[in-house]
Amino acid sequence: MKHGFTQKNLSAYLDAELSPDKVQKIELHLQSCESCLRELQEIRSGKAVATCFENPDWQDTEALWQNIQRLNISTPEKGDVKNLEMKRTNLWQRLIHPRPAFAIAVLLILFGINLFSNLKQKKFQYQRVQLDQALSYGFDYGLYLDALVAGSPAIEFERRYESQQASYEQARSQTTFRLASFTHMPKTFQLREVRLLKNACCRSVQFSCLENSREVIIFQQPQGHPVTFGNYPLERIELNGQMYHRIKTGKWTVLSLQLKESQFMAIGEMNESDIAAIIFAITTI
């Protein structure tokens, strides 16, 4: 028999509220447990004194009962209803006052909107930076074409990209891609000048050539860097199984060709046979 069971049920034992088998178990335990016996004595004394309570003489029970009946039958007074309603409200309802809660909710919404617009703005700024960065990694040959079309020197192009005259050998030593050799060009083709161009991250080589006394500028730059031509429309052409892009504006033609290691842009007054010759020369480097 557990000590705890007996202690818990001592009152029930005294009040004869237990089943006979439980009574027997408790009595068995009490024979061997002095502390439980003392406890039983204490509880017995407490029970004995509790029977001494006497109710006072209620003076006005009739008046009280009439009062209760009046409260129930007649419409409850405002105060009574209010008290009952107050008891029904939950703790959180009493703690959260509607006006401050509404104000906090509005502030949170405004804060959220502000945060969202800031994030959006930052995203646009980030995209703008990304675009600028990407453009700085490549060359905008549209600027060069603008100058040709306008019949003026390509000042804007030269200002944007650091330009330096170099020999063919110097250019070859300073570039990471195989430089075009132009060995297969017709005899009428003359390489007049080589210049090294530099932007934020790569070098391009500018070959100024004369073909039948017409100037053709050929740019060669490493593959994988962006190339832009402003707003000039680009068309996709196939010539002898070789795909290239072409821009035609007035007497000027732009040829854009991508090879494995490098990209070529040829700008000048070129006819179909010039283009075919240049493509042949370039692709056999």
């Binding site: 001592l10 009152s11 204490e42 017995r44 004394s45 004194v49 309570f53 006072p56």
Partner: protein
């Protein structure tokens, strides 16, 4: 009358007991739909009474930061003086009884509400364990263990107040 006497034992004064009784019936009339027929009506009324009394006590305690912080020693002197006084025996029997009842009620008021509740229901109101369990909303085993605590605390408090051994004898 049973509601009123329970309220009186729980609250400790007649005025509050009357207020609680009024509230109990008001609440009972309002919430009669919530009454389940499985429970008996009077245990349901006891339950409302006890809850309202405990609510009232909590509110009172919140209002006055100390709860009838009566000095037990001062009461001991009163009882001991009364016992030793030769005139005690000549005191009017009714006055003496009133004094004893007042001391008993004070001791009862100092017992924690959950122990006091079962003491009032079982020992004073004479409910069975089953009825008391229904009124309080707990098991009969809990009633028994709470009664243990309540009875022991009552005895300890009364001994501290100087109540004589004759009151602790079974009648």
């Amino acid at each position: 009358m049973r509601v009123m006497s329970t309220a009186y034992r729980m609250c400790g004064n007649i005025q509050e007991a009357e207020d609680v009784t009024q509230d109990v019936f008001l609440k009972a009339f309002k919430e009669i739909k919530k009454f389940r027929e499985a429970a008996s009506l009077f245990t349901w009324l006891y339950r409302i009474t006890i809850n309202l009394c405990i609510d009232k006590e909590r509110k009172r305690q919140r209002r006055q930061k100390y709860h009838e912080n009566v000095d037990v020693d001062s009461e001991r002197i009163t009882i001991e003086e009364a016992n030793s006084n030769e005139n005690t025996r000549t005191l009017d029997q009714q006055m003496w009884q009133d004094e004893i009842q007042s001391i008993l009620q004070k001791a009862l008021s100092r017992i924690k509400p959950k122990f006091r509740t079962v003491l009032v229901l079982k020992d004073i109101e004479g409910l069975s364990y089953e009825e008391a369990a229904q009124a309080v909303g707990c098991s009969q085993g809990t009633i028994s263990s709470r009664l243990n605590r309540g009875r022991k605390e009552l005895k300890t408090l009364l001994v501290k107040m100087g109540m004589g051994e004759e009151y602790f004898q079974e009648r």
